[in-house]
Amino acid sequence: MEKFTKLTAIAAALPMANVDTDKVIPSRFLKTIKRTGLGKYLFDPLRYNPDDGRENPEFVLNREPWRKAGILVAGDNFGCGSSREHAPWALLDFGIRAVIAPSFGDIFYNNSLKNGLLPIRLPRQTCEQLMADAAMGGNARLTIDLERQVVVRPNGEEISFDIDPFHRHLLLEGLDDIGQTMALAPAIDRFEERRRREWSWLPSTTGA
């Protein structure tokens, strides 16, 4: 996973509540066995005209300078719905490295962290201010400093955000957490030993 330390980028505003993962990437594009190449399907229902597949000129990511947006500022409950990790993959493939919203779907939030996409929860009013900043496009880049846990507005104002220390560490170092867990193998072995004793009725999938 790519490290996330500090990002300065154009931000795009998506002032909609409950943007579900079917809107981020519809299920018909999940028929892939790869993680890459999904950026072209990002926000398909909003980004393209359903009749001829042409770009919808109104949609923010189809307009300059937001075609090059690296940050998304969205409404409440962004990424609700399905567990598809294709949603963060599509955002990353498009070039978005951080999403700021008042709240997120739980699974989307976790999936993002595991892929180096930084989800930032900020109060709704703050998000509205950042959307106003985002509307200024290339003249008003936002900076996200994960080390210091702040979003820097174009006017220099700093807004601090929360993230759990475990994931912050993994993001800053670009680490995958499987390696971390594997270091705990002795504890897992001990747990399995106890499990065999106490819950011996637990069925195996290898024989019915």
Binding site: A17, N18, R28, P50, D106, F166, I178, T205
Partner: protein
């Protein structure tokens, strides 16, 4: 545990699966059962291969293909190339990693969340995960079951554990006698309508109260299934006699003396009296009216006796804008009576409502009646075993005589990944769980409702009050 403070069902399952507690509160949680399907696993197996890692516990894992497979002419294979590739990739991966697999042509094949409980693979007190948000379904057994992303699938395959932060506890208490014409689906739609699609965010919901206790396992699964639509990570129902008699005799379930020991343990799981919940919501269903959705979010529920709402009734500007977009997408005019809205397609199926009980309900309404001209109606059982059972009861004959299509098991028209799709601009009455834009196919307009209500809509050719059908 810690001074024996009263604990919730969730707390008990959580505590008993903690392998290691990190200083920041994150726990390494042991996973008892991992269900794998073709859509969210290829990149996980690829990750294992790249890192030279094995599957730690193939005997805790089981795989099945459900999302991509056609529901007709199963023997002639999968025509769509990318669908076929995903299923073939799964088959290659399970062979390479030694993971048990239920083949497409096996009678036990079906939707992953249907077959887990049906085969006795999902049991009370377990931790169960799957790369699919509707894993919450299995919580009906009194298990902690939640959906995970592909990176987490890889993590569980490699280590049989997941680093997780404990969720908050939410109790949804449902009381009152369920009126005729209403079902578990109406209960959960009413709950989501009340608390909204973000109402359960960060929480695990325990469903309690006399109405939940009175539900059979199928109904409890329908309720838990849609916990994710209420934003919750998982849904749970405390195991009781209904649960135990459901589990007993299932192919993988413990038997004889082992079952007795298991039941003795399961009896210790229900929330202790006085256990603290971070949030409690109560619902009285005595006056419930059959429900359906009007918009493209599961929280947009309305009773069948109601009308399409006016966006101006929403004070929050973001919500008003969403409502406007929903009405446009759904091609609905504010104030229209729900019973005046014609339907084109009816889908009875999905992990929410494709169990034998659901099919019986649909058949009861369909019996001796005819699907309205111009309406296409599908009944898709959740597993091959359900299909056989329904056929043994003659339900397929009844449904086919009424003009319904009778299909092979799979996710089918719940989502646009296999050949069963709702055409653009067509209106669908669906027993599934999501009405998002394009969910049933690009441009499809989905209304969620119960199996009986869906069957009634098929007969009437428009949404209809099922209470007038009995």
């Amino acid at each position: 545990m810690a001074g024996q403070a009263p604990r919730t069902l969730f707390d008990k399952i959580w505590d008993s699966h903690v392998v290691e507690r990190m200083p920041d509160g994150t726990c390494l949680l042991y996973i008892d059962r991992h269900l794998v399907h073709e859509v969210t696993s290829p990149q996980a197996f690829e990750g294992l291969s790249l890192a030279g890692r094995a599957v730690r516990r193939p005997d805790a894992t089981i795989a099945v293909a459900d999302h991509n497979i056609p529901t007709t002419n199963r023997r002639s294979g999968i025509a769509e190339e990318d669908s076929r590739l995903q299923v073939e990739t799964l088959e290659k991966n399970v062979a390479a990693f030694g993971v048990p697999y239920i083949p497409v042509l096996d009678d036990r094949q079906g939707i992953v969340h249907i077959i887990g409980p049906e085969l006795g693979l999902s049991l009370p007190g377990m931790t169960i995960v799957c790369g699919d948000s509707h894993t919450s379904t299995h919580g009906a057994l009194g298990a902690l079951a939640f959906g995970i992303g592909t990176s987490e699938v890889e993590h569980v395959l490699a280590t049989e554990t997941l680093p997780q932060r404990p969720a908050k506890n939410m109790r949804v208490e449902v009381n009152g006698r369920l009126p005729a014409g209403c079902s578990a689906k109406d209960i959960i739609l009413a709950i989501i309508g009340r608390i909204g699609t973000a109402g359960g965010t960060g929480h695990v919901i325990e469903y309690a109260g006399e109405t939940i206790r009175a539900l059979d396992m199928a109904g409890r699964m329908t309720v838990c299934n849609m916990s994710i639509e209420a934003g919750a990570r998982a849904g749970l129902v405390a195991p009781d006699e209904t649960t135990f008699s459901y589990v007993a005799g299932r192919p993988f379930a413990p038997k004889a003396e082992a079952l007795d020991r298991a039941i003795a343990y399961w009896r210790s799981l229900p929330s202790d009296p006085g256990a603290a919940f971070d949030q409690t919501v109560s619902l009285d269903v005595s006056d419930l009216v059959p429900m359906l959705t009007w918009g493209t979010s599961p929280e947009t529920v309305v009773p069948i006796t109601g009308r399409v709402p006016d966006p101006d009734q929403f004070t929050d500007p973001a919500r008003r804008a969403s409502a406007q977009r929903m009405l446009e997408y759904m091609d609905l005019t504010p104030g229209t009576k729900m019973t005046d809205i014609p339907v084109d397609v009816v889908f009875i199926g999905s992990c929410t409502n494709s169990r034998i009980e659901d099919i019986r309900e649909a058949a009861r309404i369909a019996r001796g009646r005819k699907v309205a001209p111009g309406v296409r109606a599908l009944v898709v059982p959740g597993s091959g075993l359900i299909k056989k059972e329904a056929e043994a009861e003659g339900l397929d004959t009844m449904l086919k005589a009424a003009g319904f299509e009778w299909r092979e098991a799979g996710c089918s028209m719940c989502l646009g990944m296999n050949p069963d799709k709702v055409p653009r601009g067509k209106r669908s009455a669906s027993t599934s769980n999501r009405n998002f834009e394009g969910r049933q196919g690009p441009g499809a307009r989905t209304h969620l409702l119960s199996p009986a209500m869906a069957a009634a809509a098929a007969i009437a050719g428009r949404f209809a009050d099922v209470r007038e059908f009995s």
